[in-house]
Symmetry: C2
Subunit: 341 residues, 2 copies
Amino acid sequence: MPSPLSSKYTIFQSDSAIRAKGYITDDAPLRLRMESFVKNLQNRICADIEAIDGKGKFTRSVWERPEFGGEGITCVLSEGNVMEKAGVAVSVIYSELSPEAVRQMREDRGKDINVEGTVPFFVTGISLVMHAKNPNAPTVHLNYRYFEVMNPDGTPNIWWFGGGADLTPVYLFEEDAIAFHQTYKEGCDKFDKSYYPKMKKDCDKYFLNIHRGESRGIGGIFFDDFNSKPAEEIFSLVKELGNRFLPSYTGILNKRKDMEYTEDMVHWQQIRRGRYVEFNLIWDRGTKFGLATPCARVESILMTLPLTARWEYMYEPKAGSREAALEEVLKNPRDWVLLEN
Amino acid sequence: MPSPLSSKYTIFQSDSAIRAKGYITDDAPLRLRMESFVKNLQNRICADIEAIDGKGKFTRSVWERPEFGGEGITCVLSEGNVMEKAGVAVSVIYSELSPEAVRQMREDRGKDINVEGTVPFFVTGISLVMHAKNPNAPTVHLNYRYFEVMNPDGTPNIWWFGGGADLTPVYLFEEDAIAFHQTYKEGCDKFDKSYYPKMKKDCDKYFLNIHRGESRGIGGIFFDDFNSKPAEEIFSLVKELGNRFLPSYTGILNKRKDMEYTEDMVHWQQIRRGRYVEFNLIWDRGTKFGLATPCARVESILMTLPLTARWEYMYEPKAGSREAALEEVLKNPRDWVLLEN
């Protein structure tokens, strides 16, 4: 029996041989097809956002950790015409779970990982956050990831998908919230009518600034540990949802990016940016996990933070104002689309 | 035997009767003398900082949670002449530890709490953060607190002190770092020459942005769970150190507050503000504990955040610059005063 250490490298090398052909066919392992999908999606998103921005360009940093079998591509656009700060990151990690990590996963996540000792795992994903300049245009976040613990022969022993997309407006435009949710609902409904209602609710539950009793934004969809359907079916869903990012956001962005705004609106935007920072640094599991990982690339993890933020003691929007209307909807999440249709 | 619930109220009421006399004498329980000390210190600090600021006034919010026996006074000065944002908070809490919380305290902090069931506790403290406007003037933080688990008759069953003070410059002035440390070393040395070296090291250890491998600032003193000397002796030390806050900071502030500065220096200040936010929201135990406490007053906990902050992807100060000199000292904490003298 090969040692787990060597199995990680054997798998990494056989995957690399497939990659070296220059294309990934439909019979390649799912993990390679997911990797290929997220890299392609990253390129498409960056290209379309650059086109809308008209000025800003994504800087592209490729980082490798050959000793860990880790690789990442982080693209960040700062201070464009339309985007204040936009980051789109992809990572591909081959690494190992220690027996301790396996035990933790069993306990914390209820995972029934049928392995002994140190085991190889793989994870790939895309994540993005875009903070637009115009306070009328919302911030958006997306994340899709695939995790796999491998058998020594490279086949998956245990796997799951996670991800979602959510919108964080500075000012509420109901039509934008409806359009965003509608886009994802339609994607989910193609697979299973029960997906959207559950993922919508889980999104509201996750993106919550618990200490303020207020959601980060107007939600979207969220799922994690998803493996209750055949992997190929979930992968199709993830592709469907990932491909819906550009239509879900660029329509809204194009409608809002040139609207007039005042200094007071920028002020409120900065307060909201502060709440975004609070969620990401205090509650977001991905950020916490990332920052606690030895040798993590901090810049890629914290690219999600806005360019600037503001904290005023006891700030309260005026009753009846548009600012108060946003807070109202953050404190009382709404259903933006009818669940029966 | 009185139920623990009633013992909390009995103690609260007998303490309130002492307070109602209008003064706290030397034979009052230590907890009341500590409360009186921190409230008085808060007043003195606010008065002196207002005098230096010349324009800004501290707003004073008093909050009470009679059902919990909680009370607090939060003073915040925003956008003054000298201060961008300064907060000084005092709190006085009578509450109860559940058997679960006692168990946790035994496990997490190694506390040998000799009690059964729900037990009354008391905690009082002062905390402050001051972010000056001028990038030449440092941010400062202070915190002193006293914790006590009471016997049903109101005498302390177990107690400890914690606290300290530390300085976070935007630009390094070695003379300021030396003066700040010297002030606290002299205070410590009056009691025990071993205090300062240990508290200095513990401060460097605590105020560390672990994910960046960089200290929050140039340190100061820090201690926690301090009960290895008679309580009266530690209380005297705490008073000595608390009283040294104004001399430790106002001299530096007066020297720096009117120095000229450029837009570039403000830019670097905003980057450093971002790091301050990172520490407070990701690593600071007090903030985490506070935000996880049900019914916590969020505004008082987050008053420590700067007015504004900035995050730039892959920001690096120029080699040889004053900005790089600060980073160097944050990555390699120095001894600012000789330890033998």
